[in-house]
């Protein structure tokens, strides 16, 4: 059986910036695949490219881009918009970008069902109440009548999730869904997503910059740097044996209670993600990498370093344990 979402050699450029440079990944039914990396490394562009929502000037190219077995590369806008919010749903970091401030929660939630399914209003309201309850909202009736700005950030994100589920999607793409939230609310939202996935068999592509989140929710992880996947593995394998210098660097930055002594420095990666022009060769991480050598400016091998564990780096075994 083919994967729910199957991406092969996805590329996106914006004029002089190569934002995504040949990404391949799959999301299976019932699986959470996490795409992790620092800000500016191309995570959001990847998800927007899949949804057909790239900003003007963005050029997409892929060897394969299929959803539930259908090639969606040549879908026109009407076909894509029929998919979006129906079989394929998306939630963003800032819920206000996708909630309309002028309409109540109730009218926005029911509109989704009416547009995609032609569901009668009363039935759509029932479904909205059911889903708001499902995402842990204790007074769904009250919330339906409220406007987005009357809700806290955590409630808004719950509403977004409920709205994304209105049409029973098969795939959910979540781009940093908890980055703007308190850690307490973040834990609640992530737990909710995990539960929903178990109950509904959703495939989830979860985008985050936080390896703590990845460890707790992902089945599979792709570590992204400057538009490429530099390391990819099943979650347990990646955290047991992280091989790529960038993955190692990211891991060392995460403060862990009880782990780091006060006044001992945290691990860190110097510098920032560079902007990469089209036609760039070699490892984009080499200016920040403490293992860099002359060969890193040449063509890099992508090789297997463990069970279903791939890495893009000149080091044959990656960073030693």
């Amino acid at each position: 059986m083919s994967a729910l979402l199957d991406i092969e050699d996805l590329r996106v450029t914006f004029g002089g910036t190569a934002a995504v440079r040949g990404i391949s990944l799959t999301v299976e039914k019932g699986e959470t695949h996490c795409l992790v990396g620092e800000s500016g490394c191309g995570k959001s562009v990847t998800s927007l490219a899949v949804m057909g929502l790239l900003a003007k000037g963005g050029k997409r190219d892929a060897a394969r881009l299929s959803f539930a077995g259908d090639d969606i590369r040549d879908y026109n806008e009407a076909q894509m918009s029929r998919l979006r919010g129906d079989r394929m749903a998306m939630i963003f970091q800032e819920p206000m970008t996708s909630l309309n401030p002028a309409y109540t929660v109730g009218s926005q939630m029911t509109e989704v069902l009416r547009r995609h399914r032609g569901t009668p209003r009363a039935q759509a309201v029932d479904r909205a109440v059911e889903l708001l309850t499902r995402v842990g909202i204790t007074a769904p009736g009250l919330r339906l009548g409220q406007f987005p700005h009357q809700l806290s950030g955590g409630l808004r994100q719950r509403v977004m999730i409920a709205m994304a589920l209105m049409c029973d999607p098969e795939l959910l793409i979540a781009d940093e869904p908890t980055t703007a939230l308190d850690v307490t609310v973040q834990a609640q939202i992530l737990r909710l997503l995990a539960e929903l996935q178990k109950d509904l068999g959703l495939g989830i592509l979860l985008i985050t910059h936080d390896l703590g989140i990845v460890a707790r929710v992902a089945d599979r992880v792709s570590v992204m740097y400057a538009g490429e996947v530099v390391e990819s593995a099943p979650t347990a394998e990646l955290f047991r044996a992280p091989r790529h210098p960038y993955t190692r660097g990211l891991l060392s930055c995460v403060p862990v209670p009880g782990k780091v002594k006060r006044d001992e420095p945290l691990g860190s990666i110097p510098g920032v993600v560079p902007r990469i022009p089209p036609g760039f060769t070699g490892c984009a991480f080499r200016d920040r990498c403490s293992f860099a050598e002359a060969a890193c400016a040449g063509t890099l091998p992508r090789r297997n370093v463990g069970p279903a564990h791939e890495m893009l780096c000149v080091l044959p075994e990656g960073v030693p344990a």
């Binding site: 609640q188 995990a194 703590g212 955290f239 891991l251 930055c253 995460v254 009880g258």
Partner: protein, 317 residues
């Protein structure tokens, strides 16, 4: 005993937020009778969810906002009535958002020089020297000093904010979520820089964050804030080893460490966010506490002293 760097007594701040023409204004109690002191050279971490009063507390300690009641002493001197320039030499802020807290139309070196210029009677030569010293301290180059904030990354902008805070060589720096808008990798760079500066310059920090894991790394003592009150204040090591308040435990449970297989914990707390315009009777935490029992709804708990701090909860009493 030496004079504490910061001492606050019975600090309180209310706001009246208008709700439109006909509704009565909402009375928001943002900080509610808070007292503590911070010994010179130490770091007090302050944690709590959005809206619990952290920034309001910071602004009062910086003298940027009048308390409704109570007083603030910085280096033993009362803030009210202190000359603004004298205050600026003593205590300086670093704020969360490196995008909005720097003037976009000024060059980095002019931004850093501002507090010095505001002092008056400092020569241009001295200003240049001190700005260069500050830039170097935070790891920025002379060339970066000639740029505008928009030409810098988020982490570099936060370095500018730190350089500006240091240029008057203050004793105390109040950091309000200095890394919350940054990537984990850049957060680590900034936390390491702040730790190094504290050691080298003997600074005292009030360090605010909503993430306990971040606070643990810098703070010698941690205050947990809930709806305007400090519900637990402990030596850092003790707080992480043995949290006593259920809210502190929930905060600690919320930290997702990079350990696979553990899943996402159930932190409890429900979906209702605390509202400082509507503080519950009894213990203000009780509607969200899974383990809270009958007395919690009826009576506010008293402060219980512990060997290594204090806690305000019936369960700990």
């Amino acid at each position: 005993m030496s004079t504490p760097a910061i001492e606050v007594r019975g600090l309180r701040r209310e706001f009246r937020a208008s709700q439109g023409l006909f509704a009565p204004p909402r009375r928001v109690i943002a900080v509610d009778d808070v007292s503590f002191s911070v010994p010179a050279g130490s770091v007090l971490g302050v944690v709590g969810e959005s809206g619990c009063g952290k920034t309001t507390l910071a602004r009062m300690i910086l003298g940027l906002m009048e308390p409704s009641a109570g007083e603030v002493l910085v280096d033993g001197k009362r803030l009210d009535g202190m000359d603004r320039r004298a205050r600026a030499r003593l205590i300086q802020p670093v704020f969360q958002d490196p995008f909005s807290s720097l003037n976009p139309r000024r060059r980095v070196r002019d931004i850093i020089a501002m507090p010095l210029v505001a002092q008056g009677n400092v020569t241009t030569l001295e200003i240049d020297r001190r700005v260069a010293e500050s830039l170097e301290r935070v790891g920025l180059s002379t060339e970066q000093g000639t740029r505008f904030p928009s030409q810098l990354s988020g982490g570099q902008r936060q370095r500018v904010a730190i350089a500006r805070a240091l240029v008057l060589r203050p004793r105390i720096v109040v950091c309000d979520e200095p890394t919350s808008a940054l990537d984990v990798s850049v957060q680590a760079q900034i936390l390491n820089l702040l730790a190094e500066l504290r050691r080298d310059l003997g600074l005292t920090y009030l360090f605010i964050s909503h993430n306990l894991a971040v606070v643990e790394h810098v703070a010698s003592e941690v205050a947990v804030m809930y709806l305007g009150r400090i519900v637990e204040r402990r030596e850092s090591e003790a707080l992480f080893r043995d949290p006593r308040h259920p809210y502190t435990r929930a905060l600690l449970d919320s930290v997702l460490t990079p350990e696979p297989g553990l899943g996402v914990p159930d932190v409890g707390l429900g979906d209702i966010m605390p509202d400082p315009a509507n503080i519950p009777p009894g213990c203000r935490f009780h509607p969200r506490g899974p383990a809270c029992f009958a007395p919690c709804a009826a009576t506010a708990p008293r402060i219980t002293s512990l060997e290594d701090g204090l806690v305000e909860c019936h369960l700990a009493g």
